[in-house]
Each structure stands twice: as C-alpha cells, then as structure tokens.
Symmetry: C2
Subunit: 651 residues, 2 copies
C-alpha cells in the first residue's frame, strides 16, 4: 500500500517539474502504518471533532498528504488534483494549505511550525477532555517532522512546553533520514535528538521506518505513554530511487525519468502515472472508512451526553455573549472614565470576556503581571489541572504563538496570550500563519511604545505597529482609553477569520470618550471631536490621542479649530468604504501622531490629495522615564500644535 | 568584593525606582570570581583584540555589568553614571547598549540573543586563531545567561551550532536560580538543562554560585575543555535580601528601604549608597589591570609577527578592494549583460568580493544551492577546519543571524549569509539588534517574491520588503539585474555602520542597464530611462523593473512618454537630499511597481503632491509557475500601462 504513495508522489513531482519527492517516498511506509492501523478518523467526516489530528510538519513533503487523502477517499481530493500538483488554482499547493482540502489540519512549510501547532492541538485536547470527559474528547495528535523542524529553535519551545504539560497523546514521528538540503545532517548538526527530547520529559522510541511491523510496534507502544512521545523513524530519503535515495538529490527536485522507471521496476509497478490498481485502491478506501463505526458511536455518545450543549457552545466558539457584555461595560466606562493603562483596561475588559465565555484560554510568555492577561476567575492549566484556562507559556513567545494557532485550529476554544509588543518579532512567523490560515488568535501585546520608559530601545517598539499592519489579514488595534480597549476586545473577538493584535500601554492614558452608544472601534477610525470650520484634522492612535487632544486645546484657543480622529485600527479603517473614510478625514490638511515610524500612515494621511504631516519616531528609542522620552522625541501637544501651524502656513 | 556589586546594584535600582536587582545580587559571587581570577582583559585597553569576551545575555541584570565596569576602572564608567542608571542621556541604560560604554561587547535584553551572539564570537575566535595562530588569537568567550535565555528557542539553535562546531572556548555560566517573572521556573518548564546541552555535545558542570572556591574550581575545569561548556551555577535570586531572596519579587522591581537596610546589615556594609570602601575599590582596580602584562606581551608578539599586516587588515575589515573589484566587474557586465537570476548574479559578484577580501565569512541556513552564497574559493568552516570561510549554519535562521552579530562585533571579519526572504521573519529579532548596534552584517535573502513560484504563499514574501524597510538603519537592496546586483553588493559592503539585506530573485531577470560609469545604486534610486516630455514616471525595484520597461514600450508607442526610475534601495533613496529626490521623481504623476504590498511606497510616490498609483500585491500569493502568478496578480507590463493611462486621465 505504501508503494501507491511513493509512485503518486514521484509522478506528481515529475509532472509539475517541481516539488519534493524524497520525504513522501522515505516516509511512505510510516504513513501507511499510521493511517491504516492507528490514526482514528473517518474520511467521510473530516470535521469529526474527536478525530485524531495529523500534522505534516515537514510540509515540503506535501505529496505525502495529498496522496494519502486521495487514497483514503477524502472528498474533493481527486486524481485530477494530484495531476495539477503545484499548479495555479489547484488545491494541491506546493505546501499543504489549511482550508484547501479536507484532512489538512494546518498550513505547514515554514519549518518547526507544524510540530508547534500540534502542541497546541494536544493541549486543546487535554483541556477539552478535562472539561467534557473522555467519552467526548479522547484523541491523539500525530506529527511527521523532519530534521529541519527539529533544528528550528521554535521546536525547543514546543518540546519544552509539551514535556512540561505531559501531553501524553502527542506523538511525533521523526523522519530520521540524516539528510538536509545542503547534504548530510552531520554537516551542520551533531545533536542526539532522543537525548534532547528526553531532557524535556519526553518518552522516545526508535523504529526501522521501512519495516511495517516495527513501525506498528513503536506506534502501539507510544500510545500507552503518559508523556509526549518521539519516535525516531530511521528512513532513507527517496527510498527505492536507485542512485538518488539517501542523498540530498532526492530532497527537492524531480527524480527524472530513469530513476522513476527504476522505482517502478523495483516495486513491480506497471501502471502509468496517476493510475492505481483497483484492489490497492479498494484497500486504501477501506482504511479510509475504518473509523466510521467509532465516529458513529461517538456521535451517539454526544447526543446522549449531559455536556452536549456546552460542548456545542465551545466548538462553535460564538463570542456574542462576550461582545454583549463588553458593550454594557463600555457604557459604564463612558459614564465613569478614569486615566488608566490600557493593559490594565484590557484586564478589566477580559474579566467580562472570561466570565461570559467558558471557552477562552489565556496565557502569557512569562509576563503575566505585565500583560495583565490573567483574570480573577481563571485557574492555571498545567499537567495536574488540564481544566484550567490560563497557561504559563514560559519565555517562549514563538512556541506560544504557534501553539495558539493549533488551539484555534483544533476548535473548542479562543486562545489569547500576552507578550511585550517589541517581542512580536519573536512570534512573527506564527502570526503570519495565523493570518494566512484566517484563525482567530488574539495577541495581547503591551508596553507598546517608548511609553514603557526605562527598559530602553531593545524593549521599545518603534517599527512594530507598521510591521504588524503589513501582514495581510492581521488587525492591529491600539486603543486610546479604557472604553476603546473594551471596544477593541469586542472587535477582535468578532473577527472570526483573522488574528488580532491589541497594542496596549504600560502608562496611564485617557479617558478620551464619554459615550458608548455604538462600538466605534469596529470601523477602525472615527471622529472623536468635531470642530466647526476646522482647519486641521489630527489623527492619532492609543496614547497619542491624548497628545492630539492637548494640541486641539492649544489650537482652538488660537482660533485654529481642530478636528480629532481616533484611529484604534488603521487596518479596519482603511478597509471601510470611501465615503466613510472621506467623511472622517474631512477636507482639511492632516496631521498624524503615533509614537512609531511614519511608514503605513502616508496613504491615509495623503488620501484625496490633502497636504499632511506626521509626528512620530525617526529611529530607535532610549532609556529613561517615559515623560522625559516623550519630551525628548518631541511627542508633545506643543510640538503637534507647532506642526499644525507650519502645515497650514505652507498651504 | 562581591558585596560591592550587590550593594551598587540594589542602590542604583532603588534610586532609579526601576530595574532588576535580583540577578546582579544572585550572580555577584560568580561574576567576581570570573572577573578577578579568570577573565583575561585589561580595563585600560578595552579594545585589545585578544581580550576574553564577556556577554551578559541576561541583559536585564545590567547593573551587574555597570557595577563591574565601574569597580574595574573602565574609562567613563563613573559613579555619576551609576547614580543616573536608567535616566535619559545616561550611558547606563536599562539594558546594556553596545557603544555606550567600553566593556559592553553586545547589546542584550531580548532574551536568548546574547548567548547566540557569543557563539558567533567564539566562532570568530576559532577562525582567526586558525588563520593567525594561537599567539595572536587565543581567548575565551564567557556568557552569563538566565533561564529566560535558555527557554527561548534561539538558544537551541545556538547550542546546536556551538556543539557541532566544538567551540571549546565558549563557557556559559547559567544563573540557575529557579525563578522567572511569573514565579518558579517549575511553573512553565521541566527541562533538565544539563542533559539538553549534553545532547548537543556540550560539557556541563555545576557549582554552588555562592561559594567562591567552588565557582573557581568549575571555571578552571571548564577552561580545559575541547567542547563548549555549560556551568550550572546554583544561585539565589536577590541573594541576601531577607524576604525577597529566592522569589520573583526580587527579579524586576526595587527592593525597598527595609530589604536594602537588611542586606547592608547582613554584609556589614556601613557606607551610604554610591560610596565604596577605599581598600575594596583598590582591590577591584587591581583586578582591572591584572591583564595588563598579558596585553603588553600580546602587543609585542603582534609587532613581531609575520602575520601582522594581514591581522591588521582583517581587524580593519576595509572593504575597499572588493568595492573596486566590483566596480570593474560592473563595467564588464554593462558591456555584456544577460538575463540572470539576481541570486546567481550575487554569487558571481561574491566571487569578486571573496577573492578581493580574505576576511569575509559566508554561509547559509541550509540553502547553499538556492541562496548561491558559496563561491568557488571558499572552504567549509567546521570543527576540523576552522580556517574555512563558509559555514553550514543548518536550519537555524535565527541562531545564524545572532551568530553573525557576534562575528561582526568580535571583529576580524565581515559576515554574510543566506536564507529565503520570507524567513527573514525567523531572524528578525537579531536583524533588529544588528541595526541598533550599527553592525555591518549582510543578509542574502533570495526567492524574493511570488517569482519563486510553486512553493506558494508560505514561502512567498509579500510584506517582507516593507517590514524590513521599517527597521531603522536597515538597508534593503533589491537589484534589477546583474549589474545592479554588483552595485548593491558594493553598497552593502560600504555601509560600515549598519546591516543590509540583498533581496534577490529566483527567476531570470534583466539586463536593464548597459553603463556602469558610477555606482548608481549608492543613491538608492536613479533615472534608468529618461523621456522627453514625459507624462509619467514609473518607479520599480528588482524583477519589476522589467515590467516597468515593458510598460514604457507600450506607452511610448502610444505617444505617452514614460520615464523609468530604478529604486534598488528605497531606504537610501529616501535619505538623499530633496533636490536629488525631486530631480529623479520629476514633475509628472507616478506609478510604483513592486511585487509586494503598497505600504512604504506612498511617501515617495506622493512626494511634492503628485498623483500616483501603485501596482503590487494586495495579500498573500499562491502556488503555481511564476509566469502564471505574475499574470494572475496583474503584475504585467499591460496592466501597468493600463494603470498609467487611467492615472493620467484622472488628472
């Protein structure tokens, strides 16, 4: 049966003249044993909530999963799709893309991400099993990972977290083929991987990756573990290719006609490309439906379960109750606004969110007291308390972000977690994938500017708002006071098909608004203060809205009426219809203020041909008390007023 | 003597009402033994090339190094500076900043970076020792790292690389205090760190971090190793603080008057803050000069060495010979331009660079054949051949970038290395630090757009040019043909106080220019094709210059004369004087073309109030042959011409 994977993979790569045949051929035996004897799934119902999850962390070997999905009879994974591997419009993209085909649990390709997503999936499983019982939630998460995944630093964060949390139903099959793109692994690494995993509390096993009985033995043994398991599968990359097997030449290029003919001969495979023997296909299709009974039994258990409604609620993850609660809370804030750090305002908003929803799971990368992400009702989730809803992720921003992707993909929860905004750089590859996969993951990123003060330029984001806004489908919220913070939380929860950043201050700011009739942050930008006969529109975000308001006081007194526009989310604002944008921007010159770089502002400020200026940061920050830094870098109401005057004079 | 560190640290944090007293107090004993008995340095000559390097990877404990530098008598590290800890304008910033004070070998604070810089420093030492002999280069690199550094994934990449390369003169002192910000390490991690390091080929030792004799024993033993060494120093955070020692409360906040008084009493320290007993200071100053003899002897050896000139050349790292060679090569290319992938053109340019300079050290994160970073004359640098000049960094982008920072900081070499542009996200925290530290590190980032084709959206950068340009002091070069590639290499080598990205194509492009009288890329943008009576200026970078030229052909034929501006480096172009920018941009409407997002272009395109449009990417890419992708996303000469027509009509 494994031959079918090898042949389909090498043929599809050959036809596309692009792709990676070596891994699918090397891991065909392992995958066959896993999918035909161990993985609990039903190809007819790929969204069965309690299915085992399978993650192809070594995403370049995408033909492995495409072959499997076709052979097992997943809907829509036609032979035509395999023939169109890596072609524009095909669902069989170069790397497996979540949402393209059923059975693809996550988008992989950037190395180390899949194994780290899988930790989040296994974490989600352990949590939901604790909440709903083993009869509703009880599945494994399997990963195929290569040397690349294990060399990426993110894997250490994932391994450390999984080992600490004793995620026993996480099983990683390591394609131990000793080959990377540059040549032998031994050219760049000498790590004893089993010892490394064991150091973080994993059980490790080994097997001959071309011996079905041995693979079966290892998988069987792995399933009894109370710790996560690494199985080192000794394989040959490009297995059976006569001259290229076991070399880097099999990794990422078509094998060529001669090698392919030789593989066919070795396998006794006589059919031309993209044709399969009927009996073989029948065996595979049978394997595809072998979990049907288990799935039907599970559905019956769910129907009769006392937890049924709550389970559906978690799986639907409808944030409406929290959004409603935040609306009421915003009305209270409008009545009774006080200066506050938006990170603290975020915690207050989260109290309402976490009370209204049972399926939020929070955390922080070891900055709980700084990110203010732990609310009063959240118990810690650890190896002894999987039912907790707060994860101490440790100093592992990247692994945390990747785990949150896995949690969101698994379903049954909305993950959010905290870090300093400047360290979004550490999480960026996973954040990008959340955006690409359209997952609702919420990043609480505090200490969002030079306003953090003394920690200095290494900790002060200046380019981060711009660089995060640059990621397609990422919404960056930067609220100006407690009320906007509540609104932005509601907006982030409402964004069901994309991740959100909440960029929050360390220092006290606001309040700037005293009415909450509607969630104005949902449109990204709005007129905060109108001015009759306005000569300038000042746009600002977050802590700089205070500065804008200060400038307005100065200017109004001088007879220069100033409109103030608050822009809690530039991304959402720029996605509004042109009429709304035009109305908010007005027909005057404009000044933008943000304690970050100018990049990303010009398009908005210059829209419809108006002259504009921007007051922000020119480069890195400095260490010192924040009030002095704001003065030092000229981020003051006085400077803003000066800029407005020159802008008006120039025109 | 250690008491002086503890007292200065707690007092400075108390005065600033900001900072981290716990680590300096916990590691005072270890640091005292290291600096007074082992570290080979001379405080009077902090730039002695063969000094031992000391890296405070746990940068939040900055008062540890500030105290040490003052006590040892480093120039400019006055008591006044300690009193002004964390104040605006002081050199004693919240985290140690390279360039602020002598004796600070690298900027630290973002966790995991310092230990990874140190791997680069130890690598540089091993390489230079192989080139120049032990009598000129023979020093250790010491690191103090905390739990945070070890939990960050980058540390695994660094550990793996150092272990593989058997960097025996790298010694990491781990502040094993069991405490993180959130509380006990055991709340988030269960890793056996010694076993983990040993799995990657390190020797590990342990000592009582408050027992000078035991620390001394461990350091002595460490220095005899042929493998890198981890010393687990069992310490108590905030050592001697009566109620806060050993708890997270000692980590990141002032201790308060009561605790401070109790520490003074326990130490029998009667002096007020910022005063030191004369005899104690004298002992420390003596320690500061104990390496003077060794330094003088080394200078004598250098004077008499046959390698003297070559050593000076390497340390000066003057790239002028390469820049000259590239100029001549550019002239050849102007005569004989051919379509080429700029990644291949980069390799050809590098042949000239590596032949002209003996001190470039190249590499790749396991993409040697794709990044084209290995030239014909470069031998591999590995544990058996430290004199090689090419490093197989493995699948470790982040660790590679941090190691390159360490190599540049060490001196004696210009590091460059390769990865895919999209995976700049993995390296970003280290790239930011290279920019902040003003280091000449060169990133060869290939596969720079949807032009990479079939690998699909996970591998196709769309926001990366924008997000890299956003980093202050980062120059992003994107050449349009082989000639510009040679020019951009020369420009990157000439940037002695900042890092550069070379964003290069996978696919063939150009040639676009046939004269090389001057390096036009040095100004970032220039007129590639003038047009009498121009009605449009089209600006483009890299592969899209071909599209701009195609559009020009269409438009010229229609009687719409088009000027073409090539912008190989937006950052440098926008830093030119206004007259030059105005001259290049001209007085017509403008169209920008780049196979990336619009962010970052508006400021230039709209300069001086001209109407403009931008042709680029709106979101993520797709998998398919690149020519089809360019059609699919409308990146064609025809679309560009259409856009120009509408732009002109609208005005």
């Amino acid at each position: 049966m494994a031959s079918a994977i090898s042949v389909l993979s090498m043929d599809a790569v050959e036809k596309a003249q692009s792709g990676h045949p070596g891994m699918p051929m090397g891991m065909a035996d392992v995958a066959t044993v896993l999918f035909t004897r161990h993985l609990n799934f039903d190809a007819s119902t790929p969204d069965w909530a309690d299915r085992d999850r399978f993650v192809l962390s070594a995403g370049h070997g995408s033909m492995l999963i495409y072959s499997l999905l076709h052979l097992l009879g997943y809907d829509g994974v036609t032979m035509e799709e395999l023939k169109n591997f890596r072609q524009l419009g095909a669902k069989t993209a170069g790397h497996p893309e979540y949402g393209h085909l059923p059975g693809i649990e996550t988008t992989t390709g950037p190395l180390g991400q899949g194994i780290s997503n899988a930790v989040g999936m296994a974490l989600a499983e352990a949590h939901l099993a604790a909440r709903f019982g083993d009869d509703l939630v009880n599945h494994y998460t399997y990963v195929i990972a290569g040397d690349g995944c294990l060399m990426e630093g993110i894997s250490q964060e994932a391994i450390g977290l999984a080992g600490h949390l004793k995620l026993g139903k996480l099983i990683v099959l390591w394609d131990d083929n000793g080959i990377t793109i540059d040549g032998k692994v031994s050219m760049s690494d000498s790590t004893d991987q089993r010892a490394r995993f064991e150091a973080s509390g994993w059980k490790t096993l080994a097997c001959d990756g071309h011996d079905a009985a041995d693979i079966d033995r290892a998988l069987t043994e792995a399933k009894g573990s109370d710790r996560p398991v690494l199985i080192a599968c000794k394989t040959t990359i490009g297995h059976r290719a006569p001259t290229k097997a076991g070399t880097a030449k099999a990794h990422g290029a078509p094998l060529g006609a001669d090698e392919i003919a030789a593989v066919r001969e070795a396998l006794g495979w006589e059919l031309p490309p993209f044709e399969l023997p009927d009996d073989l296909l029948a065996s595979w299709r049978e394997a595809g439906s072998r979990g049907a009974d288990a799935r039907i039994a599970w559905e019956a258990r769910l129907s009769g379960s006392a937890h049924k409604d709550e389970f559906y609620t978690s799986m639907a993850a409808d944030a409406a109750p929290a959004i409603e609660a935040l609306g009421k809370y915003a009305a209270e804030l409008a009545e009774d606004g006080k200066p506050t750090a938006t990170r603290k305002a975020s915690q207050a908003a989260l109290e309402h969110v976490n009370a209204a929803l049972s399926f939020t799971v929070g955390g922080s990368a070891d900055l709980t007291g700084s990110n203010n992400t732990k609310t009063s009702d959240l118990a810690v989730l650890d190896a002894e308390h999987y039912d907790g809803r707060y994860v101490h992720y440790g100093i592992r921003e990247h692994g945390m972000a990747a785990a949150m992707n896995g949690m969101a993909l698994h379903g049954g929860m909305i993950p959010y977690s905290g870090a300093f905004l400047v360290f979004a750089d550490y999480m960026r590859p996973s954040m990008r994938l959340a955006a690409l996969m359209e997952q609702r993951v919420i990043y609480v990123l505090t200490h969002d500017s030079i306003g953090l003060g003394e920690d200095g330029p290494t900790h002060q984001p200046v380019e981060h708002l711009a660089s995060l806004r640059a990621i397609p489908n990422m919404a960056v919220f930067r609220p100006a006071d407690a009320l906007e913070t509540a609104e932005c939380w509601a907006a982030a929860l409402a964004r069901t098909s994309g991740p959100s950043v909440l960029a929050l201050t360390r220092q006290n700011i606001g309040p700037v608004r005293n009415e909450a009739s509607e969630n104005k942050s949902l449109r990204g930008g709005y007129v905060l203060r109108e001015a009759a006969g306005a000569k300038i529109t000042i746009l600002a975000t977050g802590s700089e809205v205070d500065i804008a308001l200060g400038a307005k006081s100065i200017l109004d007194a001088e007879g220069i009426p100033a409109r103030i526009v608050s822009v809690p989310c530039l991304d959402l604002f720029m996605a509004q219809d042109m009429n709304y944008i035009a109305e908010v921007l007005g027909n005057t010159p404009r000044l933008g203020i943000e304690a970050g770089i100018q990049q990303g502002w010009d398009r908005l400020l210059g829209a419809f041909g108006q002259p504009y200026d921007f007051l922000g940061m020119q480069g890195f920050g400095a260490s010192g008390p924040y009030q002095e830094l704001y003065e030092h870098f000229g981020l003051t109401a006085q400077t803003a007023a000066d800029r407005v005057r020159s802008l008006i004079e120039r025109n």
